[in-house]
Symmetry: C2
């Protein structure tokens, strides 16, 4: 029997609650499809940082590097200053494990109420490929004359041909396997250096390696309009780290909310483990209430299983989540039609026996 080593970082707030449900679905998938997992819990996040002062040690990072994949719930507690967990944990893992593809599907599932009037599932089915290791996330920049009237703060977007090529090539490959259409999102009319590199690489790789994939380009500002008014334009979308951060949150809104948005931080070379996490955060305001929708976590598990080669299990998990959604009244809060735990039980039952 195949066994996969999984690191489980449940994290803070609703992170633990939604992770519990994903793991129930995983139990059911293992039984039905005949594989096993070796799960290793890691107590990381805001609670742990406040208690010990430690975010993520080099030893823990080395241990994480040994597993086949990482499942993360959500990290963040109100008392932790901004940036500490982001740079010390999330971005540290993304960068250290060279997870250069942040994969975020934006798909309106049947029965899900979208905030966009008249939008139907056939018009909203795309995958956003966000660069995940450089750009504005490099943390490069500085402060001069801090606190004085002549203070200057700089923040630098660093874009390497290496980094841009690999993510664009990954996106073309995905487009080729889908509907054959790739849109690049940037702001080439203003970001003269970074935009120039991205546009040249996009054109070169498209022309030379993927002549059958149709290419389109959209400015980041216009992208927001199109995501709302005409999401049917998009099949696969590729963009840089910061634009990707912004437009995938909008994508999550369009497809029904953060409670449904899954993501994978992927090292497509398989050198390091990939990390799968809901797009939502730890939501301290509703933690403990049983109001969190576990679907984003369950769909992230689905992405993880697909990456691990358990395609049938991934299908079953995604199908169960989609079926549950058709039964929900709202997508989060006290009126979903069951607590987080109840929904997790129903998903697990559906994974075990879809009929």
């Amino acid at each position: 029997m195949t066994s996969h080593a999984l690191a489980i970082i449940a994290g803070d707030g609703i992170g633990q609650e939604v992770m519990d449900q994903a793991l129930k679905a995983l139990d059911a998938a293992e039984r039905r499809f005949g594989f096993s997992t070796d799960r290793r819990d890691y107590d990381l996040g805001g609670r742990r940082y406040l208690a010990t002062g430690e975010v993520l040690s080099d030893e823990t990072l080395a241990e994480l590097d040994e597993v086949d994949a990482i499942l993360l719930g959500a990290v963040g507690t109100p008392d932790v200053p901004p940036g500490v967990l982001e740079r010390g944990l999330l971005l540290k893992v993304r960068f250290a494990f060279d997870q250069y593809v942040n994969l975020r599907p934006v798909k309106l599932l049947p029965g899900v109420p979208t905030p966009i009037a008249g939008l139907t599932p056939d018009r909203c089915d795309m995958v956003i490929v966000r660069e995940n290791t450089e750009g504005m996330y490099a943390g490069a920049g500085g402060l001069l004359f801090e606190g004085m009237s002549h203070e200057v703060a700089t923040q630098e977007s660093i874009n390497t041909r290496h980094g841009v090529e690999r993510v664009i090539r990954d996106a073309f490959t995905r487009a080729q396997a889908r509907r054959g259409h790739l849109t690049m999102v940037h702001k080439t009319n203003v970001l003269n250096y970074a935009g120039d590199l991205w546009m040249r690489v996009f054109t070169e790789i498209g022309e030379r390696e993927f002549p059958a994939v149709e290419r389109a380009y959209v400015h980041a500002d216009a992208m927001c309009l199109y995501l709302v008014n005409s999401p049917e334009r998009f099949d696969v979308v590729v963009t840089d780290n910061l634009f990707g951060d912004i437009i995938t949150d909008l994508g999550a809104a369009v497809q029904g909310g953060l409670g449904l948005a899954a993501s994978g931080n992927i090292d497509p070379t398989g050198t390091h483990p990939s990390m799968f996490e809901p797009v939502h955060g730890s939501a301290p305001d509703i933690a403990g209430m049983g109001w969190a929708n576990p679907v984003a976590a369950v769909l992230s598990l689905g992405m993880c299983l697909r990456q691990l080669g358990e395609g049938d299990a991934a299908d079953a998990v995604e199908h169960a989540a989609a079926t549950l959604l058709t039964e929900l009244k709202t997508m989060a809060g006290p009126d979903m039609g069951g607590s987080t735990d109840d929904l997790g039980d129903r998903i697990a039952t559906l994974v075990a026996d879809p009929d």
Copy 2:
């Protein structure tokens, strides 16, 4: 009789068509409210660049500096490479005239179909104050090893305390005159240097100078969600140049489309003229068809009149545009219920005689 010197840059594509309608409304406002304008046409934009190779000369810039305000339609033609008109004209004027406030109201007017299901005008009435002279728009950065495998492109966001303070102070002043609530949008959890400066300045100015204005902070990614799901959170919003570019396009979508979104590039000190322009572009695909909605241009004229001290005329122009909108069937295209020119006539009639 007061006279205002106005530079008119109709520009390309639908720019000319919508400008014609704004000027009819201006004629009507002058007659009704007893002021006059000295209008100076400037032939600038893509057509002119393709014909002469010139974008905006220093002589023309010096002439523009003499007027009281600038009205711009839209610039851009398909054959002009990206960046040429942006940096050579739009950004050149914004920067040279130190128009550090880009003011973009996001207001759902009665009778306007919004793409957001269930959204009502009482829940969507905000003003976005976008920094307009620095940040990622500085054009700072470089290319190393161009075209080689080790190529690196950098793009730098430059944020001065001078620049951040003045735009934040302007936003607080506007919030104080409205509902007393100011939200800053940034990405402080990742942009460690720029975000740090913005947050410190926001807190300092708020505490010291505007203790009665309530402050909120939202990350740029979450802002996209909130703009769609809960725009009622916002009264005045202040943000940097690039985030402002992105979220105001989303705001335009939420309030019914680019055909209705007005903006002002304002030098609040009055040292240089301010420039007013619709958020939409020159839309070459529909140029000449009479399908462009002139309301964005007319509302931009309204902002211009207010800046010139013609408050009654501004009210009349805005009221006329709002009245027209309640009569339209769609917000752009062949089914609006009249051509661009027809709608302009109706607006002018409403400005002349609102009853």
